[in-house]
């Protein structure tokens, strides 16, 4: 908000120079975002914090704050704060009650409504000094009456409104009757900006017997507005329920100076002075006279709030060593009244204008900031707590990242969002997707249910730097599980080879990577199954004949495979894209820190090769598992060293060749023993219908 330096100086003649003042405010109260010249004045743009709009949205409030800061920073200097003198031309013979009456329906929404009537004014341009003040803080001049209400709002923070008295409906006694009431559903008002507003029963109105005059605390209406020939006016100064004003302003989309102030909450105690200040300026500038007295309705009572402050808490919370005298001095400068109770306890009567102060810690904050947090010296904490718990998720995630990184994969991070185009291309049904109520862009309408789509896109984009790309991300994914918003952590890795159309090697490298990852996390009980056998309607973006599901303990936790060629071709991507995505939340539950060293066998190993001709549908794993089953603990390892399908083989067949490594950890196996076992294996494989060659 903008504040004029010369205006502030009116209240505190001994104020600091503008730059110095800005530094003090920034450190102790609010950040001064800029100090700019405006003729012979300076404009300070001060970011008043939301809790202080209630007392500092006018120059007087900021001046009060400056006064406190100066009194504490320079206790020996004489700093004075004073309000301007009021000078109202008033005719007490005519009583306000004979001119206006105010009745409030729903005093909870309007605790105070005050009004004065000023008759015989002359609407015209404002004097130059007034226009300059308004312009300095960015307000346009309209006419002397409206300008003065704005001026006093900028001075006190209290929004004020002027009605044309002659346009108000009168009762049979000639009294203008003002009602503060809730609107009737669908009631309409044309506001000062010429717009027709549709009201609801939640909105509070200022009305006469004919209809609405203003939306309370938000905007005035056209009907009783001040015009060039207005002679007699009513000045309104009121207080409205913060939440009611806030909600109505939000719903109607009106962001007026008044609505912002009322929405933050204002002290009702400031109303009479503000109304009198308007009356004083109007009768001085626009002529006329004030009718005797002021209407002051509502159930507001000026009862100050009391807080009990434990003196020891001040030093304990701040880490300072203040005396009680110092604490009392500081609190008095902000307008508190203090009495000392027994046991080093203070009874603090809070200043009525400071709605932000409600408890002990609020007062401690005042002490801390006004004194300056720079006065507090760093001090090592005494509090001991049990050793920090090890966070397994964090530890395992870091380990996984290191494994992937060492294998040549680069970590990327991406937005957690996804749009319709990608969602439907990758086969995600809108039903399970969590939709954002207010998305920032169309391609960020949903929370991502999977990391892979975005990662694939990024990987493809990075092909401009290299012909093969390996990237990964570990992050959270989101999906509706029945009515619950489920959030899980996933790991996704993508590997693209640009100039190689056969994806087998790429697939095997990715599978090898995931195997290595599992091993380094201490997970050995895993198996791979063709994707087509497991998922019917999920994981649709993996090619069904070129992808595998990873199972741990029989539970599927992810997949590795070639991206469905329909997807890559529709986006014009290379064919050879291999994607792995794993449910990291489940994976980390399976991690085992236990790792037992096994002595390598002392006895020699012997290698025998075996080649098998099988149907194309038979899996390498099936043959391998069969060999292992027969070999039991005498077969240490089985390695596939050749895989062939194609020319010179019967239709629908493939040839697999394995090294079988025989070794016992108890004795040296004799040639005879090995031959016998090898023959047995051949026999069993042959019995399965697989031709051993």
């Amino acid at each position: 908000m903008k504040y004029s330096y010369s205006w502030l100086k009116e209240f505190i003649p001994a104020i600091q120079a503008p730059k110095k003042l800005a530094d003090l405010l920034t450190l102790h109260a609010w950040e001064v975002e800029s100090v700019e010249n405006f003729g012979d004045d300076f404009i300070l743009d001060i970011a008043i914090l939301p809790n202080r709009l209630s007392d500092a949205s006018g120059h007087i409030g900021v001046a009060r704050e400056i006064y406190s800061i100066l009194k504490i920073a320079y206790p020996k200097k004489t700093t004075r704060f004073s309000l301007p003198r009021l000078n109202i031309k008033e005719r007490t013979a005519q009583k306000i009650k004979s001119v206006i009456s105010v009745s409030i329906a729903g005093k909870d929404l309007c605790p105070r409504y005050a009004a004065r009537a000023i008759f015989g004014i002359k609407v015209g341009p404002s004097p130059k000094w007034l226009i300059k003040r308004l312009n300095a803080v960015g307000v346009q001049s309209i006419n002397n009456i409206v300008d003065i209400t704005n001026y006093v709002m900028l001075e006190t923070g209290q929004p004020l409104h002027a009605f044309d008295y002659d346009k108000l409906a009168k009762n049979k006694f000639g009294v203008a009757e003002i009602f503060v009431r809730r609107a009737v559903d669908k009631e309409e008002i044309i506001t000062l900006d010429g717009q027709e507003r549709n009201l609801s029963a939640e909105d509070l109105l200022i009305a006469d017997s004919v209809g609405p005059l203003a939306i309370a605390g938000i905007k005035g209406g056209m009907r009783a507005c001040i015009s060039g020939d207005t002679k007699n006016i009513v000045i309104e100064g009121a207080n409205f329920d913060r939440r009611s004003v806030y909600k109505t302003a939000k719903r109607l989309g009106i962001d007026s100076d008044a609505a912002r102030r009322f929405g933050a909450g204002l002290p009702a105690s400031q109303i009479p002075w503000a109304v009198d200040r308007v009356a004083s300026l109007i009768t001085q500038i626009a002529g006329g006279y004030a009718v005797g007295g002021m209407v002051d309705e509502g159930n507001f009572r000026n009862i100050p709030v009391k807080v009990v402050l434990f003196f020891a808490k001040v030093n304990s919370l701040l880490g300072l060593d203040l005396t009680m005298k110092e604490v009392i001095y500081i609190l008095k400068t902000i307008g508190c009244e203090i009495s000392i109770l027994k046991n080093k306890t203070l009874k603090v009567v809070l200043p009525v204008n400071r709605l932000d102060l409600t408890n002990q810690e609020d007062l401690i904050e005042e002490i801390g900031r006004l004194l300056g947090y720079g006065k507090i010296m760093a001090q090592a904490p005494k509090t001991l707590s049990s050793p920090a718990a090890i966070n397994d998720a964090w530890f395992i995630r870091n380990k996984a990242k290191d494994v992937l990184m060492r294998s040549g994969f680069t970590e990327l991070r991406a937005y957690s969002f996804m749009g319709d185009v990608i969602a439907s291309a990758f086969g995600f049904g809108a039903h399970d997707l969590i939709e954002i109520y207010n998305p920032i862009a169309d391609d960020k309408r949903y929370l991502r249910p999977s990391i892979s789509p975005r990662l694939v896109i990024s990987a493809v984009e990075n092909l401009k730097y290299s012909d093969h790309i390996g990237v990964f991300e570990i992050g959270n994914v989101f999906e509706w599980k029945k009515a619950r918003a489920a959030e899980k952590e996933h790991l996704s890795a993508v590997r693209i080879v640009k100039n190689e159309s056969n994806p087998v090697d790429n697939f095997r490298i990715m599978k090898g990577l995931i195997n290595d990852l599992l091993l380094s996390l201490g997970i050995s009980d895993c198996s791979w199954r063709p994707i087509a056998n497991v998922f019917k309607d999920r994981y649709l973006f993996w090619g069904h004949n070129s992808s595998a599901i990873l199972e741990i303990d029989g539970k599927p936790i992810g997949a590795v495979g070639v991206l469905e060629s329909d997807i890559s071709s529709s986006f014009g991507w290379p064919e050879n894209i291999v994607v792995a995505e794993i449910d990291f939340s489940i994976l980390r539950e399976e991690v085992s820190e236990e790792h037992e060293y096994r002595l390598p066998s002392k006895y020699p190993e012997a290698v025998r090769d075996i080649a098998v001709l099988v149907d194309i549908s038979v899996l390498v794993d099936e043959v391998g598992q069969e060999i292992a089953r027969i070999g039991k603990n005498l077969v240490r390892d089985i390695e596939l060293f050749d895989y062939y399908e194609g020319e010179n083989l019967p239709e629908g067949k493939k040839s697999l060749a394995f090294h079988i490594i025989y070794q016992s950890d108890k004795k040296t196996l004799s040639g005879q023993e090995i031959d016998k076992l090898h023959k047995k294996i051949i026999k069993v494989l042959t019995a399965r219908g697989w031709e051993v060659r």
Binding site: A29, L318, M377, A388, L412, S416, I436
Partner: protein, 354 residues
């Protein structure tokens, strides 16, 4: 090959040997020359054996001549050996050009935010802070109400929120916004942690947060925070200053000047902004610190009594501090990354620099 010469003229032999040594090309050649004259069966050794057969009168001169020749040849051979070795070593070394570029062993890279996060976590861990994580989808109660941010209050506008659409559609067939949202800060984890733990404790909470706001070089609608929370019987602002100072000094690896400035957050009282003396201009004022000499690092304060009440702590017996720093901002400072949007750009060239 050197031919054997029979001569008893010692000075001639000596000169002959020295000249051969002078022109020798390699250490191998030199050793051949050496053993021809001075080896076990060398010419001059043989002469030594024959001294006794010489007439007694000429014997001393003869012996001296032989010894002098041996000494001269030995010295010359030694010098020459040194020279030849030097040349040979030099020749061996320059057998390839070591200024050729190195061949990189291909490895991957971690994202700079991961590196910065690890560094931060390591520093706090070493000060005894536990590392806690929490959900990114939150309910309004944990994100706002429990943190003393009431509904229909302007303070709530400090956090522009992404709301989750309800699963159940409303009257007009459209799904209304639900009570679920994307957390606007990591602070709801203060609540979640305190609901299930009793003080004293000290934790940090790293994680993603989201705000519905326009992006530019220094603002992102999706970003990362490091939340901190320390609660005990007597934890003070002075303790916060100590912890935060230690953190920044370890993080930036140099002495750091800290400034706490008055601020407002509904969930802390007192509240402050944490500034550090500008790292780039040491406080003289530069474009990075907007000529102020200070860099804003994040918000902090003493946990508000309403927050303690929300988790059913006895407000008369506990006090503590909380803070929230932006991970991206710390990474940008540390690595001089100019634009926050680079972190989520998916451009591999960002990570590859680390």
């Amino acid at each position: 090959m050197i031919k054997r010469q029979q001569s008893d003229n010692i000075p001639i032999i000596k000169e002959e040997a020295l000249s051969k040594i002078r022109i020798a090309h390699s250490t191998v050649e030199l050793e051949e020359i050496y053993s021809f004259y001075l080896g076990r069966k060398g010419i001059l050794r043989n002469f030594l054996i024959t001294i006794g057969q010489f007439p007694a009168a000429k014997r001393p001169d003869y012996a001296r001549n032989i010894h002098e020749a041996i000494k001269a040849i030995d010295m010359a051979a030694r010098d020459k050996r040194g020279q030849l070795l030097l040349v040979e070593i030099k020749n061996k070394r320059s057998s390839f050009d070591i200024t050729m570029p190195g061949i990189a062993v291909k490895r991957g890279h971690l994202h700079p935010l991961t590196l910065v996060e690890r560094k931060i976590e390591h520093i706090f861990n070493s000060m005894g802070f536990g590392i806690i994580e929490g959900p990114e989808i939150e309910d309004a109660w944990h994100n706002f109400d429990a943190l003393n941010i009431p509904p229909d209050h302007p303070a709530r506008e400090l956090w522009d929120t992404f709301w989750i659409k309800s699963k159940i559609s409303g009257r007009a067939g459209k799904a209304p916004k639900s009570k679920l949202l994307l957390r606007t800060h990591t602070s709801p984890m203060q609540i979640r942690y305190m609901e299930t733990h009793q003080p004293p404790f000290k934790i940090i909470v790293p994680g993603k947060a989201y705000r519905f706001e326009a992006t530019d070089a220094s603002h992102e609608f999706q970003f990362n925070q490091i939340e901190g929370l320390m609660v005990g019987e007597d934890v003070s602002v002075a303790n916060f200053k100590f912890v935060v100072q230690a953190f920044f000094e370890h993080f930036f690896g140099k002495e750091i000047n800290i400034r706490l400035r008055a601020s407002y957050f509904p969930f802390t009282e007192p509240s402050f902004e944490v500034d550090i003396r500008c790292l780039f201009c040491s406080g003289r004022g530069c474009s990075i610190c907007a000529r102020s000499g200070w860099l804003e690092m994040g918000g902090a304060g003493m946990v508000h009594r309403e927050v303690f009440k929300a988790v059913k702590y006895d407000v008369s017996r506990v006090q503590g501090f909380a803070f929230g720093f932006g991970l991206e901002r710390l990474a940008m400072m540390k690595y001089k990354i100019p634009d926050v949007r680079l972190f989520n750009s998916g451009d591999i060239q960002l990570s590859q620099q680390f």
